[in-house]
Assembly symmetry: D2
Homo-oligomer: 351 residues x 4
Amino acid sequence: MSGNTFGVLFRLTTYGESHGPALGGVVDGCPPGVALSEAVIQRELDRRRPGSGGLTGTARKEPDAVRLLSGVFEGATTGTPIGFVIENTDQRSRDYEAAKNLLRPGHADGTYLSKYGRRDYRGGGRASARETAARVAGGAVAGAMLAPLGVEVLAYTVEFGGIACAVKDVAAAADRPFCAADPDVVPVWEARAREAMASGDSLGGVVEIAATGVPAGLGEPVFDKLDARLAYALMGVGAVKGVEIGAGFAAARLTGSTNNDPIVNPPESNNAGGILGGVSSGQPVIARAAVKPIPSIAVPQRTTDTSGNPAQIVVGGRHDRSAIPRVVPVLKAMVLLTLADMVLLQRRIRP
Amino acid sequence: MSGNTFGVLFRLTTYGESHGPALGGVVDGCPPGVALSEAVIQRELDRRRPGSGGLTGTARKEPDAVRLLSGVFEGATTGTPIGFVIENTDQRSRDYEAAKNLLRPGHADGTYLSKYGRRDYRGGGRASARETAARVAGGAVAGAMLAPLGVEVLAYTVEFGGIACAVKDVAAAADRPFCAADPDVVPVWEARAREAMASGDSLGGVVEIAATGVPAGLGEPVFDKLDARLAYALMGVGAVKGVEIGAGFAAARLTGSTNNDPIVNPPESNNAGGILGGVSSGQPVIARAAVKPIPSIAVPQRTTDTSGNPAQIVVGGRHDRSAIPRVVPVLKAMVLLTLADMVLLQRRIRP
Amino acid sequence: MSGNTFGVLFRLTTYGESHGPALGGVVDGCPPGVALSEAVIQRELDRRRPGSGGLTGTARKEPDAVRLLSGVFEGATTGTPIGFVIENTDQRSRDYEAAKNLLRPGHADGTYLSKYGRRDYRGGGRASARETAARVAGGAVAGAMLAPLGVEVLAYTVEFGGIACAVKDVAAAADRPFCAADPDVVPVWEARAREAMASGDSLGGVVEIAATGVPAGLGEPVFDKLDARLAYALMGVGAVKGVEIGAGFAAARLTGSTNNDPIVNPPESNNAGGILGGVSSGQPVIARAAVKPIPSIAVPQRTTDTSGNPAQIVVGGRHDRSAIPRVVPVLKAMVLLTLADMVLLQRRIRP
Amino acid sequence: MSGNTFGVLFRLTTYGESHGPALGGVVDGCPPGVALSEAVIQRELDRRRPGSGGLTGTARKEPDAVRLLSGVFEGATTGTPIGFVIENTDQRSRDYEAAKNLLRPGHADGTYLSKYGRRDYRGGGRASARETAARVAGGAVAGAMLAPLGVEVLAYTVEFGGIACAVKDVAAAADRPFCAADPDVVPVWEARAREAMASGDSLGGVVEIAATGVPAGLGEPVFDKLDARLAYALMGVGAVKGVEIGAGFAAARLTGSTNNDPIVNPPESNNAGGILGGVSSGQPVIARAAVKPIPSIAVPQRTTDTSGNPAQIVVGGRHDRSAIPRVVPVLKAMVLLTLADMVLLQRRIRP
């Protein structure tokens, strides 16, 4: 309602700025009896940690250590809210003093100012990708709830810097550079990345998320369709500019007879992405997110200062050169959070 | 929460099946003093009426006459909820008796059965596109609220049956066949449509929605970003399988230096689609939705009956051959509803 | 959120003014397979109909016939939203023309004007007790869902015009004058009522609501405790100025040793009203609501007109002389709606 | 929705158990520019701290020091969520080991077990009154937002151990023993308290909360009336068993002519408690809450163990002998939170 709570029954509320004392969140609605520990959450957090995944330009070194504050007793959830906190330990706010009156192109500086009338300019404040650490922590709790139900979510990069790859070996993608869906593309993407970095520029890509073991029947017609809620979840991640389900935009170019998945056992196609009429069919749920290139670049850009005067900016500070691969566990977390909520919602209908 | 209410402060709750007595809804939260009448709503409803827009195969003839039941007094809203109803008048349920035990590929028949355990099989029941009439009515109320604020929303088709067109003359698109963004493409698309209809097949397309006059500052970080809420709104429309904001998937292929919109006056580009950090920038808000081909086709398809036996189906009944153009006013309505909600939400911050 | 929706998972959204075309609502979230018909709802509506219960002064004659518009198929709910409408048929708006610029003491005339800046003055508009018809209809759906689970709700008057009675034979109270909890008090209350009517005055009372068969475990700590939600539900009915659970205000005067219910089988007391820590215990849930005297009286009162000038008013129109007994089925409905919601919420935890 | 979030636009989400690592919360929706610091919150927290107010039996010594984690920049709120944490420092969980299999009468032990199937038995876990510290912190933020608008909330005890007092000097009540509304009653109440403590028993009372400066127009008809939301807010505090607005239960015994407040300037009475039709009138908003005696008593009680066997219990641990006065700032906080939310909701209508 006020923007920082996600979900209806399985709910994540988050807080925290890039350069404030800490960030964290509250998971409310996780059923009792789910095995949970700081280690379970930490494992996921480590995947989005600065410096993870091989190719990033950031120099910020955060341990991103999570601390559980409530809701877990004798190794499992109690059904009460799960508070957690991640301290900010490596803040260099001076980096941002210099440019505090310049609006960075592609960033939320100007829009936050329009919205709130004032802003914490240090490292983007709340608009920093740093807030996604709390999403990953929340997603880990959702994952802990879903795993015993047989629901598994994988996320992997299928395109980087304009170069697509095959979807070949996704089970190991999380441990691969770029979280690439195909090991063979890694050297090609590395070359593309070096090229961009050399020119001070940044790159984007496309991430696919696949959920298997999703029971049929999830999704709340008509507005809270499973695909609608997934689109909301994924598009709410900072860098995402597009979301597809199943065949996605390609479906718009097919005819009904080629797009419809015949209902046969075993299934022969999955253009629907596991969702029909907004409700899961039992086939894998497939979504894709378009990730824009990171707006912080070393290339000089034309902009305006907070007084409205034209200016030029070269964005300093410590930045990744692509949201990939660090955004990959974030997108996975958003799908886990969505599915956990939908599983609980469906229980009211078929307990 | 239970799926049939949209919005936080400007809320639309809808009900109604394809072949029940009526469909309708309640708009709650519309501020007092908005000029409103049945005629204002009827004008929008007429645009999605069966047979509208030129190319449709449906034979169902519904006047879709809306009746206002509350919330309007002496020509304007009072601030109390606005109830409305649209009677179903041309139901031929017999059309569906024959195939009630066959799951139609691409439809929600099987997933609704998984979800609810039983279903109103007549014409798809609640899963019928007929429910979108209530969305259009609700969107008309949102439009009546937004118009005096200078917010205007246009929706137009930019691709049909795999053939894209220029975005040339969108102001008149609503009255053009296919709601085409370019008058010159109409004969080409008509040929494409005739070809598909001749083979009993169906087609999809891509619809763009553009909102101008949107004040800067709308959108609720971090989860309820304006783009997240738009993605939710659009993906929640039955036939939609993909949503883009601004440059969308193309942004994933650009570099930061080419994707970033320089902050200059007047603006030179709008790759961000009028949204940065999830908050509107004051530039036009641009979204695109991928519309899949209608799953009801006259081509024989392999399927399964409700007892799990393999079967073949040829979908009878009265059906359009494409959701385009009838889905166009629906997508416009969803954007209007989203913006109305976001305008009210922002008032709490900067009244 | 915008005031006209009640509940989280079992949700009732209502609309309608006293003198508009119709009032009605949407029940969203009722599980599939609940036996439901217009007759089931009509039976409850008839209990709050003008002229019901013996002692009322109203001359308005409304059949209050409910029409189901969706969500029911072959005699049972489908899981989709249940729309219903009740036409207004006996409106005499002229009655209110005369006094449209006078604020009636004890009524919402002035506060609605402060809130919305304009108002439908005919019969109180949305602030009329007439809106409770939609609550009763919604409550009947909740009751239909709860009955097969063994949950039963009774409501009965335990005090009228300052005269309390014993709680003696509540099963038949609904068919008794005043819905009195004790048949012997009826002639006493009738005398009290005649006395008040003779002087053009009005009376209030206290209604108790008892729910049996409520499973242990309902209620959502810490804010959405079962008692908190019941207090919200009951205090939201127009005439209610106080709510108690179990021993209520009397508990504040007891010591711990006399107020605590010993945990023995069978139970020996129920000071807790079936709720401990905000969660149902399995004992009957007991609530009481204080109902103020109806503010519309024939006695001259000092007031102010809408321009701020002092004035005198004698309220004309057709009015009951007490909200009792017509408010009794309304309070019952609110408890049914609350319990239905809490039952569904608990399913997510222990399905 | 899942019980631990309060409010629609001004939202407080809390977490924390009595004997877990910490408790805390997130305030989401506080507008930007509100002056806020840890000191502002700490001042309110100190009022509900163990040992505060004179008469309590608790030996637990907690500093209850609040730490702000986000949402405040350069001394004022930014509009982003305000995270805060209060560490638990004085936990003696061993106190509870002995009785972990005994259900304490008047406590939530058994109902939580029914609800969740397992529980953190140490000190009542989430059901401990300790959770109210997070409410007080949230309420302090609400108070900081409301103060510049001229809204002030006072809370004071008007009855203790069955002995009522006059409402005489409430401005100083917060600093007086029992937060008594009348200084003269203090020695009488102290005698009553000593008497109860001598017998190992506990006492309850009645707290009144008065809000002045509340603008006319707050409250959302029909379900989210201001009084309904206040009843929900107050009844959701653990020990509360009854809530009244204005004349409350006494109104049920008046006639319309004596209960109606004449609309005159200045006002002559306030039986309505500042609320008509669920909307604030501009007069002071007056509510009262019945607080039950604390269930933890040294008197032996009959109970049942978690295996269902009869048992006797004498509740050890460190406990207050009355929720008064520590509950007083909690009830004040709940009214502040409710009013802050209602102020923001009203801005959407009359910005």
